[in-house]
């Protein structure tokens, strides 16, 4: 795994920990924001907004709807950096 991907992972995880107030060890790739990390629908919207800000990107609504897990968030950002 390259350093870039490692870096993205760390930043995404930090956002999730900060936004949802969860423990870092709970932020595992397969964790679902709503089912496992206690997010409500508004939290998931805010999470996407925070990702957009952190990575200076615009995530279209139809893509945002699919970002439901930690892995989905990391994958989306990894694929769309540069």
């Amino acid at each position: 795994m390259s350093n870039d991907i490692k870096d993205i992972e760390e930043r995404v995880k930090k956002i999730i920990v900060d936004m949802l107030g969860v423990q870092p060890e709970d932020v595992v790739p397969e964790a679902s924001f709503v089912d496992d990390l206690g997010a409500d629908s508004l939290d998931t919207v805010e999470l996407v907004m925070a990702l957009e800000e952190e990575f200076e990107t615009d995530i279209p609504d139809e893509e945002a709807e699919k970002i439901n897990t930690v892995k989905a968030a990391i994958d989306y950002i990894t694929e769309h950096q540069n």
């Binding site: 409500d40 508004l42 805010e46 907004m49």
Partner: protein
Amino acid sequence: MKLDFTNKVVLVTGASRGIGKAIALAFKDLGAKVYGTATSQSGADGITEYLQGQGKGFVMNSLDSKTVEECYNAVVADAGTCPDVLVNNAGITRDTLFMRMKDEDFMAVMQCNLLACVQLCKLCVSPMMKKRAGRIINISSIVGQDGNAGQTNYAAAKAGLIGFSKSLAKEVGSRGITVNCVAPGFVATDMTAALNEEQLKAWTNTIPLKRAATPEDIANSVVFLASDMASYITGSTIDVNGGLHCN
């Protein structure tokens, strides 16, 4: 608790005259930095003038969604932040009996009185969510609650604002944003000046408080809803109608 809006940024649409001007002036007097919109450059200049350095007027045509976004961006650029308080006040009428109402008259009123407000709410809500604070006040109307012959378009838009505000209030309440409406009754403005004296008298006679509202009567309730005093009020509509319609 004091009414004080020092360091607060307030955006009022339709602020060149009538209710919107009274609202903008009320916030100015309470220390806010006020941005007002008008449909023409001369209207915007007039706003800048009466704000006396405590804000600025911008051109926005609610019938054109592009200018709504441009205006919002210009306000944010000038203020350096998104508005703390959004007052959707701009409104138009295209009155006629429903049987004679053209589709474009119906849609113009919906666009200006409902959809442009919705658009501004959308632009303001994300930054307000980030700030965990925000006040949205939508100016509805007694006509949206009671109906009025000749104003099916206006009533639909103004009733729409109330339902919209209630729903948005429930969505964003947990993020410290309140969304409320003010529903004026009969207010003495340019919009109602079209009536002749006889019609005016007939109207005021039906009002329990026996007078039309002044624009300041409406502004008072808007300022209250935007203040810390109203921090537990959301999803509600304040009727300012002299008793003409009681919910």
